[in-house]
């Protein structure tokens, strides 16, 4: 689960990670009260959406830049007015962009130097890894590729926790002065505590900065959490912003369906994540384009299948549907009945290819064949994929 920068920075402050003073506003009417919390002087105005590349983004009305430096608070208020309720398109939002529903004002800090800092899981060692770099404000993938010597990593032993010597490895790698290193060490420790205690999936600070007066601050904050651990963090679950999520994905999650919209025109309904991914792959292999990832889980009840059809058909790009079910334990006939009912209930007019395999498959195929509906049956995944691609073309 992702959260906004202003929410992440509130958590940073709670855990003792220094950030520039800031205040958020959810409407133009809140700008004055938010700005009243900040001192007069240079102010940053930052659009709050769950996507990177905000500074270089463009609003749909042509206004450029989702993050602005302003010399005065009055200027900041004016800029915020251009951002709020406007739609920002960045490299990460897709062409539709995201509506800016919160604007965050912060004191504009004097920057001596920019660094990079992140904490996430290292899959190879199954340990948290802290990544730091002298190259702040840049794309870390690019730094890793071109100048790997400028990236420093420490792997934290979960039994011992973050060790002092590891923190020193990071601060000396970054080449900080003794005074800066002291502030950075405290910041890194506190950030790690936050990562661990909140079940964060990733914390990224880019840039982390030093100031001419020797302070170390988190200038930006990108934080996501392990969805599996939200049950023990109600205070973090409360930070979820449904406006940032796809409405169809939210609807799907109510039925325990895992749905992700894509840009193709062949909808998929599959049981199991691995099979669902490879169903998308095989559609592409035969020249089609999948409209979505949809995993109905290892089970798949009639209610789920009906809900899944409704969600799929909510996507107006969809020109055909491919149902691929490997009914290992579940009875294929139950699924077949679910499909027939769903098709009748939603009044499907698009081509539908069903590939059923597994337990009691013969009865399931008979049910589909005798339903009186135009359901094309596929024998194998390859056969079914070729059929749906042809029907949609």
């Amino acid at each position: 689960m992702n959260i906004h920068e202003y929410q992440a920075k509130a958590l940073f402050e709670k855990f003792g990670v220094p950030v520039p003073k800031g205040a958020a506003a959810k409407a133009a009417s809140e700008f004055d009260s938010a700005l009243a919390l900040l001192p007069e002087g240079p102010t940053m105005v930052k659009s709050q959406i769950h996507a990177g590349g905000r500074g270089k983004g463009t609003f749909t009305d042509g206004f450029k830049g989702g993050v602005k430096f302003c010399k005065t608070k009055a200027d900041a208020k004016e800029m915020a007015g251009k951002m709020i309720n406007n739609t920002l398109v960045t490299v990460q939002t897709g062409p539709a962009g995201r509506k800016v529903q919160t604007v965050y004002f912060t004191v504009a800090s004097d920057i001596k130097k920019e660094y990079y800092l992140a904490i996430l899981l290292d899959r190879a060692t199954s340990r948290p890894v802290i990544v730091a770099s002298t190259e702040g404000g840049m794309e870390i993938e690019k730094v890793a590729h071109e100048t790997p010597e400028k990236i420093f990593k420490v792997y934290v032993d979960p039994a011992y926790g973050l060790a002092d010597f590891q923190v020193r490895q990071l601060t000396s790698g970054l080449g900080l002065s003794p005074a800066e290193a002291k502030g950075a060490a405290k910041l890194i420790r506190n950030l790690y505590t936050m990562y661990w205690e909140t079940d964060a999936a990733m914390i990224e600070v880019n840039p982390l900065i030093t100031t001419p007066t020797g302070d170390v601050l988190a200038l930006d904050a990108k934080v996501s959490f392990d969805s599996n651990a939200l049950f023990r963090h109600p205070e973090i679950t409360a930070l979820r912003d449904l406006n940032e999520e796809d409405s169809k994905e939210i609807e799907a999650s109510k039925f325990n369906l895992s749905y992700i919209a894509l840009d193709g025109n062949i909808a998929c309904l599959v049981n199991g994540a691995g099979l669902a991914m490879s169903t998308m792959d095989i559609i592409k292999h035969y020249g089609g384009n999948p409209a979505n990832f949809l995993d109905v889980g290892g089970g798949a009840s009639k209610e789920q299948v009906i809900a899944a059809f409704k969600i799929i058909l909510g996507d107006t790009n969809v020109k055909g549907i491919f149902v691929n079910i490997f009914g290992g334990i579940m009875d294929c006939n139950v699924i077949a009945n679910g499909i027939v009912e769903a098709v009748k209930e939603v009044g499907l007019t698009l081509p539908l290819v069903v590939r059923l395999e597994g337990n009691n498959v013969a009865a399931g195929k008979t049910t589909l064949a005798q339903s009186g509906l135009t359901i094309v049956s596929g024998d194998t995944m390859a056969d079914a994929a070729q059929k749906i691609v042809k029907l949609v073309a």
């Binding site: 590729h145 599996n228 023990r232 199991g272 099979l275 991914m277 290992g328």
Partner: protein, 307 residues
């Protein structure tokens, strides 16, 4: 022989009184698997009754081990309590713990992984379909089924299957069985980013198992585990190996059901993994429908008989 489990393996089911654990304990009993004990704290002394079976339930894994001598458990315990169930099994000296539970917090698994380092217990999973070593009865009855896989699609034989995904494993097994190619053991290692047993661990066991003549390696986008396994295969495995990677069309940065199946860097894309497979002499299945055929091609090239 098979790897990890044989038809003689005695199994403890942790969480046998839950809906999910109970349902699959019954299916394992139907398959002829020796489910000898259940564990649910607070329900010790009760029995799990099903058809002619009367499986005793214990309060702890330690008690179940002491009473039955079982060395293997399967964990169906709900996510908030699953990590504890695993370390309990480790403390009780189990040789193998297969964790089916989906949705265990990553932090819990990081701690579990550290806690079991250096211990002799092998953990498979979590978030996995489990293991099947098919038996010699009709529809592979009499085998050892641990977890949630459909037993009847298997056939006893000489191909090892390892995969992160459940239904994709069934797909591969089904293709093999349809071509009369049996399996030695099928292992689902799970789709989570932190898991107990890697593709490579299983490949090493298949390589050492004289009854396994060929291997199907099924991977996904995300992580580099398949790449490590492939490089080891290149240097050490003479048996025919077929490989498939799911997720070529998955968009970067999106989690597709499996927490592990998310592309971050450049090394963990489907294209990168497939390229490494090819370099390492693994016969690549072009589509998921091609997995059994890919293994047949690999076997033919090496002059190996799979049946």
């Amino acid at each position: 022989m098979a790897i990890l489990i044989t038809p003689e393996s005695k199994i403890i089911v942790q969480g046998i009184t839950g809906d999910f654990g109970g349902r699959h304990a019954k299916l394992s009993l139907d398959y002829g698997t020796q489910v000898v004990a259940g564990v649910t704290p607070g329900k010790g002394g009760q029995f799990f009754e099903y058809k002619e079976h009367r499986v005793p339930i214990y309060n702890s894994v330690h008690e179940a081990v002491a009473a039955t001598g079982a060395k293997v458990s399967v964990v169906f315990v709900p996510p908030p309590f699953a990590a504890d169930a695993i370390v309990e099994g480790v403390d009780a000296g189990l040789e193998l713990i297969v964790t089916i539970t989906e949705g265990i917090p990553v932090r819990d698994m990081v701690r579990v992984k550290r806690a079991i380092a250096g211990r002799s217990t092998r953990l498979v999973g979590p978030n996995c379909p489990g293991l099947v070593s098919p038996g010699s009865g009709p529809q592979s009855h009499g085998g050892c089924r641990i977890g949630i896989a459909p037993g009847y699609i298997h056939r006893k034989g000489h191909v090892g299957v390892v995969s992160r995904s459940g239904t994709l494993t069934y797909e591969a097994v089904f293709q093999l069985t349809s071509k009369n190619i049996g399996q030695s053991t099928c292992v689902g290692i799970g789709g989570d980013p932190v898991n107990g047993t890697s593709h490579l661990d299983v490949i090493k066991m298949f390589n050492d198992d004289p009854e396994t003549h060929g291997i199907v390696l099924i991977g996904e986008i995300g992580g580099t585990a398949e790449v490590e396994a492939a490089r080891w295969i290149r240097d050490n495995v003479k048996k025919p190996v077929a490989g498939f990677i799911a997720g070529a069309t998955a968009p970067a940065g999106r989690r597709m059901g499996h927490a592990g199946a998310i592309v971050g860097g450049t090394e963990d894309t489907a294209a990168a993994k497939i390229a490494v497979f090819r370099e390492c002499g693994i016969e690549v299945a072009e589509t998921p429908s091609d997995m059994a055929d890919a293994l047949l091609r690999a076997a033919k090239a090496k002059g190996v008989t799979l049946t």
